[in-house]
């Protein structure tokens, strides 16, 4: 039965992907991309990757959709000119041949995966008691492959630096995004007053559940970031100027704590990011708790874009 539903999900997924590639209008393509992200969440669930489904639900279906929709609306005036540049039939045929070749090679590889499949699950199962956490994914992210997570947090930070570096000189240090003005009786203001308290609780719950059940800092941080963005979009609170010290402290807090504890591990346990015996769970919780606000702020800043308004006056 579950394979019957998989066929449906696969077909719908491909149909939406095809829509986003072939439809003429960019906005229509993006509008198709949002349900596509939600459908991917279903696909991860069918493949029994619940943690991944949670991440996709938060980032793929929530933040990415909002990011692209906003961009498509802003870039709408340039749409007609861009459409005129569509390549001729020769390029299309060549691209089709190239794409089919790539897809065919990958399909053959994926159909001929070795049997029995190589897996690290028994290894993880053997060593997970040493970490003190119950969710194997959290154990991998913060203990067995902690270096990946550390580098990821730093990559996200570089992403923010990259976005900020797009600011015009006169706006540097100012507030990101456009000024929001919304009437006090707007329904959006109502939503931005009611939803964030609930959303923040759910975000923290998902973060906390990550120790033993699907969840964790990325998913929790995304929900919290989305709530903050909602408040900003409603005009209730403006985006903070990027020159604020507290903002920058929160941004680097997570990676800094991560690196500091990693170095401490080098002193006490003999290797960078090694955890001393019996302390693993506490260290993991400290790192996760430090990463949560950093990730939330990082995601918000990636979403709102570079500073666009000078600090004093327009």
């Amino acid at each position: 039965m579950i394979s019957a539903i998989s066929v449906g999900i696969g077909i719908l997924l491909l149909a939406l992907a095809l829509w986003t590639v072939v439809v003429r209008d960019t906005f229509a393509a993006v509008a198709g991309f949002i349900p596509y992200g939600l459908l991917l969440t279903l696909a991860w669930l069918v493949l029994r990757a619940v943690d991944v489904a949670l991440t996709e639900a938060a980032i793929g279906a929530g933040l990415t959709g909002a990011l692209l929709i906003r961009a498509a609306s802003r870039l709408h005036p340039a749409e007609a000119a861009a459409q005129a540049e569509a390549p001729g039939p020769a390029t299309r045929v060549a691209a089709g041949v190239a794409a089919t070749a790539v897809a065919a090679v990958i399909a053959v590889c994926l159909l001929r995966l070795p049997d029995p499949a190589p897996t690290l699950a028994p290894e993880v199962a053997r060593h997970i008691p040493a970490t003190g956490v119950g969710n194997p994914i959290t154990a991998v992210l913060l203990s067995f492959r902690a270096i990946d997570t550390l580098l990821e947090a730093i990559v996200l930070l570089f992403g923010v630096v990259g976005v900020w570096s797009l600011a015009p000189d006169r706006c540097w240090g100012g507030r990101p995004g456009l000024a929001q003005a919304v009437g006090p009786n707007d329904i959006l203001v109502y939503l931005a007053r009611v939803l964030p308290p609930i959303g923040v609780v759910i975000g923290i719950y998902i973060f906390w559940a990550g120790a033993d059940h699907p969840g964790g800092k990325f998913q929790g941080a995304t929900v919290i970031a989305a709530m903050w963005l909602l408040v900003m979009m409603s005009g209730l609170r403006d985006a903070p100027p990027v020159s604020r010290r507290w903002l920058r402290v929160v941004l680097v807090l997570g990676p800094a704590v991560f690196i500091a504890l990693g170095l401490l591990g080098a002193l006490t346990a003999g290797a960078f990011l090694a955890y001393p015996d019996g302390w693993a769970k506490l260290w993991i919780i400290v790192i996760e708790a430090a990463l949560l606000p950093s990730l939330a702020v990082t995601l918000v800043l990636l979403m709102v874009g570079p500073p666009q308004r000078p600090e004093v006056g327009p």
Partner: protein, 99 residues
């Protein structure tokens, strides 16, 4: 064996809900207006969550409720971004009457 039966019923219902959502998407994505197209996200916000809960419960994944909670909080987010960007590109937030 009742559990197996119920699991099959849930999967079947899920398939039908997905079918309905797919047919709805077909109609909504064609437009003609951008607001019509934005309904696609809304459609999946409800139908998608229903399908998610059904598949998850049928395959015995308890934490599917957490995924559904995340989706429920965030499903509206893209639509809000659309409405905001739309207003800004028109630049007429002033004559928006509040009701």
């Amino acid at each position: 064996m009742a559990d197996v039966l119920i699991a099959d019923v849930l999967i079947a219902v899920c398939a039908l809900v997905l079918l309905m959502v797919a047919v709805g998407l077909l109609s909504v994505l064609r437009g003609p207006t951008r607001a019509d197209r934005m309904m696609a996200a809304q459609l999946f916000g409800t139908g998608g969550i229903a399908a998610l809960l059904l598949v998850g419960t049928a395959s015995g994944v308890d934490s599917v409720v957490d995924v559904a909670l995340t989706l429920a909080v965030l499903a509206a987010f893209a639509s809000v971004a659309f409405v905001k960007a739309d207003r800004q590109s028109e630049g007429d937030t002033a004559n928006e009457e509040g009701t």
